[in-house]
């Protein structure tokens, strides 16, 4: 276990290093995107550009720039090129928004994903199953911003039930917090409800042919006990894996489109803003932050998987 964790930790640091180098490269190797020109403005004189270059250390060699930048990220002193705001502070401000969004959506999608998957599998081939399959496939195929637009138009404009985006802190007013987040939660959850119910359905159908299910039936257990205690429980293990990976990816950047459409000032929206302004420092910090979450949840998933399924031995790589 300890060896496994150390190995994964080293791997994580290496991956984060590679990720940061790539992002740095994207913004520095690509021509015509001299950040100094961007900061100084379109009509800046060459001397002003030179001055800006000097101020931000942009005249130094690239490796040196990279290390200064990384040092600033980890000491929390990184300043955005465009708005001159401290990047780490802004990310820390955004975290509660992004986490509120992702956790709420996760609760919704796990509940409905498991419910629909269970119903689909236990009524295989019947009307419920077919209807849920169509719903699930539609959910998987719906672009986030289409769903967001329809919900916004119906519920905030026509019916005026929910507020139009924005975020209220949970500590300020828990009711308003939930009220502002209901539509984003639904928007984000729909895709995953579709996907998880499909995966759970196919896992449960596989599990129903297993020997242990036959044994459970032979023991005289009721059908309900067989499906919930034996089939469902075993089929949930891969769902837990999926959940870990998806949640990591969501916090690490996938929630970005939902945040932008609902005007939630989370980490993702900050990334979108900075990207459109070609503001390198925030993009670097956020990408590293996102990759960190993705890799972290990978490790957590491996550990949880080994705990849930004792046949899995950690640290013995499959290769």
């Amino acid at each position: 276990m300890a060896r496994f964790l150390v190995r994964r930790l080293v791997g994580m640091v290496l991956v984060l290093f590679a990720v940061s180098v790539i992002v740095f490269g994207i913004f520095n190797v690509i021509p015509n995107s001299n950040p100094a020109q961007g900061i100084a403005g379109k009509n800046a004189t060459p001397t002003l550009v030179k001055q800006v270059e000097k101020e931000f250390g942009l005249d130094k060699p690239l490796p040196e720039q990279y290390f200064t930048q990384m040092k600033l990220i980890f000491t929390g002193e990184l300043i955005s090129y465009n708005s001159r705001i401290n990047v780490d502070d802004r990310i820390v401000e955004g975290i509660p928004v992004t986490v509120s969004l992702c956790v709420g959506a996760a609760v919704l999608w796990m509940f409905f994903g498991i419910l629909f998957g269970y119903l689909s599998a236990t009524r295989q081939g019947r009307f419920t199953d077919r209807a849920l399959s169509i719903l699930a496939l539609t959910g998987i195929s719906t672009p986030v911003f289409l769903l967001a637009s329809v919900l916004l138009f119906l519920f905030t404009y026509k019916l005026e039930i929910f507020p139009n985006g924005d975020y209220v802190g949970i500590t300020e007013d828990p009711l308003e917090w939930a009220n502002h987040l209901i539509l984003p939660w639904i928007t984000l959850a729909v895709l995953y409800v579709g996907f998880y119910s499909r995966v759970l359905r196919s896992n449960m159908l596989d599990a129903m042919n297993e020997d242990y299910v036959r044994t459970a039936r032979a023991k005289g257990l009721s059908e309900r006990q067989v499906t919930t205690r034996h089939v469902l429980r075993n089929s949930l293990i891969p769902i837990v894996t999926l959940f870990g990976l998806d949640f990591g990816a969501l916090v690490g950047g996938t929630a970005l489109v939902t945040e932008s459409t609902f005007n939630l000032p989370g980490v993702g929206q900050y990334a979108a803003e900075s990207a459109s302004g070609l503001d390198l420092p925030p993009i670097m910090a956020i990408t590293i932050f996102g990759a960190f979450f993705i890799v972290l949840f990978n490790v957590i998933v491996d550990v949880v998987y080994a705990y849930l399924d004792p046949r899995i031995k950690l640290g013995e790589s499959a290769q």
Partner: protein, 365 residues
Amino acid sequence: MASEPYAEPGLPGGNPEAGFPPAPAGVRTAGRSPWYLAYRRLLRNRVALFFLAVFVLIVVFVLAAPLWASDVAHTGPNKTHTLEKIEVNGEIKEVVEPSGKPIGPVWFGADGKFFLGADGHLGRDEMVRLMYGGRTSLEIALAAALITTLLAVVLGLMAGFYGGRIDTIISRVMDVLWSFPVVLLGIALGTALAVGGLKIGPLELSGTSLWIPILIIGVVYTPYMSRPIRGEVLSLRKKEFVEAAVAQGAGPLRIMFVELLPNLLSTIVVFFFLNVANSMLLESMLSFLGAGVQPPNSSWGTMISDGFDLLYSSPVLTIIPGVMILLTILSLNVFGDGLRDALDPKSKVRLEAHLGKAEPEGTAV
């Protein structure tokens, strides 16, 4: 749909030479190629065929763009009609009201002009833009999916076949790409390239070239496909036919592309449709955020992005291109699912595609 596949005249089941009566349906599977059997299975899946038809209709729709533009709407996708007036069912109406609100769908009220209304304060014909935008979206999705498939097959084959150091290098690179938040990477690349364009050796792309989103999307999705391919190659290369090929003195290229590749085809085909759907979704997301298709080109994603500002006054501008994306992706997903079932009823390719690396790092004992 063909009714009874095995009872057609001239296609008797059983052994024709011995004069046996036709065998019951499903018996004459011997001697049929797996592709033929999959084709028959697919023909029986009415839902999948229906959605294939939907996809074909969408393709026809976008291909008809120049015809509609020149013969029906008499305008182009980027032509503005801000101050013009049109006659709708005998009434004179402004294309764009002074308040900035564009005209809504007029259907055939103006002989096909402004069929779906105008697209905002510039007063461009929404229907013409929808058809041309769909072309861009489909072109990008198809080209990106081809790039993903090509890269993933070559890398997956090499990693799985050679193993050792080559496998380690390829797998680590894929790990890094996989750890990137996909949308973030897309946005970072998209905005940077849109400003500066791309120049690698003799290859030069301007910032507005469609090849930029194509390349970005094609590369970003590669690890999701190369991993399952590598896994399949790892298990295939232990099979006897590979040993036999080695014994015959076949070189690595021959084994990879002549022996192993045909065995991967069903996985590749299923993945390809999934890739097209995913690429289209990512393109629309990037374009929505301004990091995908750049003006003067437009795609369904940029149309939604433009329309979103007018969501409350003209919701059709957001919803119509959104529904087109939804229909395209849904048809690809349902057809892809049916294809998967027909090619390999037991396969879990779609699950693996999403899981990517979900194969936990440990071994079942």
